[in-house]
Amino acid sequence: MLLSIANVHKSYGHIHALRGISFEVAEGEIVTLLGPSGCGKSTLLGVIAGLEEPDIGDIYWDDRDLRGLPPHKRGFGLMFQDYALFPHKNVQENVAFGLLMSKWHQREITERVDEVLELVGLAEYGNRAVATLSGGEQQRVALARSLAPGPDLLMLDEPLGSLDRTLRERLMAELRSILRQMEQTALYVTHDQEEAFALADRVVVMNQGRAAQIGTPQAVYQKPANAFVANFLGMSNIFQGKVQDGLIRSPIGDLPAPDEAEGTIMLLIRPDIIRLDGSGPKQLQGRVLSRSFRGSLCRLEVEIQSHSLTFDLPSSVTNLPRPGESIVLDYDPTETLQILAQ
């Protein structure tokens, strides 16, 4: 593994920003750190970049211990959330800064800067003052600046955070293709699951300074490891239950239990793997509380045994029941019911 983080702790007074996080990044891999604000994502980037010293824990790059190595000797790139563009330098000078620091020749610097500005679609912007750029343009300059020296590892701290939705989606796609094209090893911090899934080879879901789950986007989405991850991904049908006689005794009734389950468990009823076509094999019965149209999906809020559950059904399904009407949901226990770690 190229980058290896093991059991890193970092506190500021009484605030424990990192509490023993561990994960690894392979060469050419894009890993996203996904989590709510305040989960320690940005602190972790600071620690890896060398801007912060960890209290305890190991950080290795290519089997080399990074502790004590100052940031300017690590050869990493970091794109800041607020971009941190140098206000007294124009676009060209901002992008050239890292090259100047590693003592490139002037001619190579000019070539490289042109090349990178071309890559981010700002070929004509070299002489512009950064204060005259729009948010999206500043974002590209910041990206170009961190890419220019060809960092071994590029870290991006919520790079699309402050942009509006349409711009964000466009830049997300561009960013992905640029990183892939350069086979850039990257660590990408975001609180937006869509962004994290779209960009990542692997996702590290963070909660309170620890890794709550690590895996490919598909794996994380299809099998959230615990209630925090499931909730964070918007799956809220989570109940505590008890396994007895091959059945889960839950607040919404008895449900078939998987073979391996026993004792008290956390149960997730997936909102997305459900049908209305009477095909079974198992069924849930309830009453529709509300129905909202969300493009390709339609979200139903269904009352089952006086508990409210949400389900997403394709909008193409005809005869969706109206609020107040009763509903019969077909599901396959092996797919729809998931046992979460406590």
Partner: protein, 568 residues
């Protein structure tokens, strides 16, 4: 933390010692002198002064002219603010820049400008005499109340345009639309939404204008002539002409009391306006001039603004290179037409002149004083700004920050009087020191220097240093490529402020400068008060040079100020 705090304390040392010796000690001396003759209790000298008819009249006139000036300034400024706030049109940036010019003009330039436009040798009178073949100038503009009022409007309209206009331009126009949707007609929208929202900022602007008019000195002294005296001018006469220092001190304390109350009121009000309810980028609040009513309104306002704010300055520059009639100079007589004779005359030492040296010497003296002021103001301002930038919220800084701004609220004449009273005898006898004038200028410039340096120092966010470090810059390279260049530009701005203020300062200088070392404003003042077209022409030439300095200073400040990234 302990360490950081002691650094802050250390940084404050020099600026505070300076303020203690050259601000608080002189003010204390004024207070002491004003109380010195008091046998019937501490308030007796003030009661005595206020009840005396002459001071009564002075105080009354001070308030009256300030009130009239403020009303007139609002009458011109508010339509202008509306135009700048709600409409986008070609040349708007230029108009905004032009209307900012009067505010940075030294008093003497303003006086000379109106003299060049409306004085007995000014364009309009000379033109009218020419056309109608009159023996005497038909318009008696100088030494009249209108002259004072017009000059005040000229000076302070910028304040209304900038303060009200900027606030207004960020005010969400949808608030008005929301009111319309709720059934309000245009008049009701104005009355119930727009005016209530704008009231705090208009009041704050009006109060600031009033304070400036209340403490106005040069305009009243030169354009008002001997018949009009405000408190400020009366202090000057009592000090210079009558040498009645105790009465001058009493008047100064009165003046200080008034400005203090108004400044506190102003600070309260402007704190309210600094958080407008719903800030919108001006892009969303401005439209084009669509209807013909809007176009006529815009045309009228722009024409009025340019006539009142710009023509006097053009008249000055133009008149300084034009001669009417035949004038005798040393080099022979001067034919009517374009000429640089007035400028050439500046370097000639005329025997009958009051000067010991030609007026060009004044330029050298002013530049020397300005250079000394720049050095002093930066040496004192930089540590103070640095301490403030460390942590604006620390208790020490919260107490000291407003303290630094006090000289701003103290009239320059009062500062000069304080120097005369306090620094003219042991332990500090600086009467003959060439540093006296630069020290006074430094006091005036100090708040501006600190105010322009602090945000610049604060803007060097840690993330900029971090970004540089991650890009491979060693700590020393970070200092060289990030900190120094950013501080450097701020220093340049601060230095320009100090320089421009020093070169145009008149109030304190009029009390402190020695006759053999006149500054440019002093030289203009003397030339203006002497008869003869040649003196007049030289005054205008010297004023034009001063105006060029002031405008260059303003341009330099605009140029080197670093715009905030992501500003509105």
């Amino acid at each position: 933390m302990q360490n950081k705090r002691s650094v802050t304390v250390l940084l404050w040392c020099a600026p505070l010692i300076f303020l203690a010796i050259f601000y608080f000690y002189p003010l204390g001396s004024i207070l002491k002198l004003s109380l010195a003759r008091s046998e019937a209790g501490a308030l007796a000298p003030f009661v005595e002064a206020i009840t005396s008819p002459s001071v009564h009249r002075v105080l009354g006139f001070t308030i009256w002219q300030a009130f009239l000036s403020t009303i007139l300034t609002l009458l011109l400024g508010l339509p202008g603010a509306y135009l700048l706030a709600r409409f986008d049109f070609r040349g708007k940036t230029l108009l905004r820049a032009l209307t900012g010019v009067p505010f940075v003009m030294p008093t003497l330039v303003v006086a000379a400008s109106f003299n060049a436009l409306l004085g007995p040798h000014g364009w309009i009178n000379v033109g009218l005499m020419e056309v109608f073949n009159l023996p005497e100038p038909p318009i008696q503009f100088l030494n009249s109340l209108p002259a004072i009022l017009v000059a005040h409007v000229f000076y302070n309209t910028t304040i209304v345009l900038r303060m009200v206009g900027d606030f207004w331009s960020h005010l969400d126009p949808r608030l008005g639309k929301a009111a319309q949707v709720l059934g309000a007609n245009r008049w009701q929208v104005l009355k119930n939404v727009t005016i209530p929202l704008l009231t705090p900022v208009i009041t704050a602007a009006a109060l600031l204008v009033f304070i400036f008019d209340f403490t106005s000195f040069g305009v009243i002294l030169i354009l008002g002539g001997p018949h009009f005296a405000t408190l400020e001018v009366e202090i000057f006469y009592q000090t210079i002409s009558l040498f009645n220092l105790p009465l001058a001190a009493v008047l100064s304390v009165l003046q200080l009391g008034c400005t203090l109350v108004m400044t506190i009121l102003y600070t309260r009000l402007s704190a309210k306006t600094s958080r407008p309810i719903s800030l919108q980028s001006s892009r969303h609040t401005q439209g084009r001039l669509l209807t013909w009513q809007q176009r006529i309104f815009a045309f009228g306002v722009i024409a009025l603004l340019l006539i009142i704010l710009i023509t006097p300055l053009l008249a000055l520059a133009g008149r300084s290179v034009t001669s009417f009639g035949v004038i005798d100079t040393r080099e022979g007589s001067l034919a009517p037409g374009l000429t640089l004779a007035f400028y050439r005359e500046l370097s000639i030492n005329r025997q009958e002149s009051l000067f010991y040296a030609p007026p060009t010497t004044a330029i050298g003296i002013s530049l020397t004083y300005a250079a000394a002021t720049v050095v002093l103001a930066l040496i004192l301002g930089l540590p103070a700004a640095w301490a403030l930038a460390q942590d604006r919220t620390s208790r020490l800084n919260r107490v000291l920050d407003p303290l630094l701004m006090l000289p701003l609220g103290t009239s320059a004449v009062t500062l000069g009087l304080g120097f005369i009273i306090a620094l003219a005898h042991p332990p500090l006898d600086l009467r003959t020191s060439p540093l006296l004038v630069p020290i006074a200028h430094t006091l005036v410039a100090f708040p501006f220097v600190v105010r322009s340096l602090t945000p610049a120092l604060q803007s060097i966010q840690p993330s900029l240093r971090h970004a540089a470090a991650v890009l491979g810059a060693s700590p020393r390279q970070v200092l060289r490529h990030i900190d120094l260049p950013l501080v450097g530009r701020a220093l340049l701005v601060a230095a320009t402020f100090a320089f421009t203020i020093s070169i145009g300062e008149f109030g304190a200088t009029s009390l402190l400068s020695r006759p053999e070392y006149p500054t440019v404003p002093m030289a203009i003042y003397r030339l203006l008060s002497r008869p003869g077209v040649l003196n007049y022409g030289q005054a205008l030439a010297l004023s034009t040079i001063l105006m060029v300095f002031a405008i260059s200073g303003m341009l330099a400040i605009e140029r080197f100020r670093i715009a905030d990234v992501g500003e509105f």
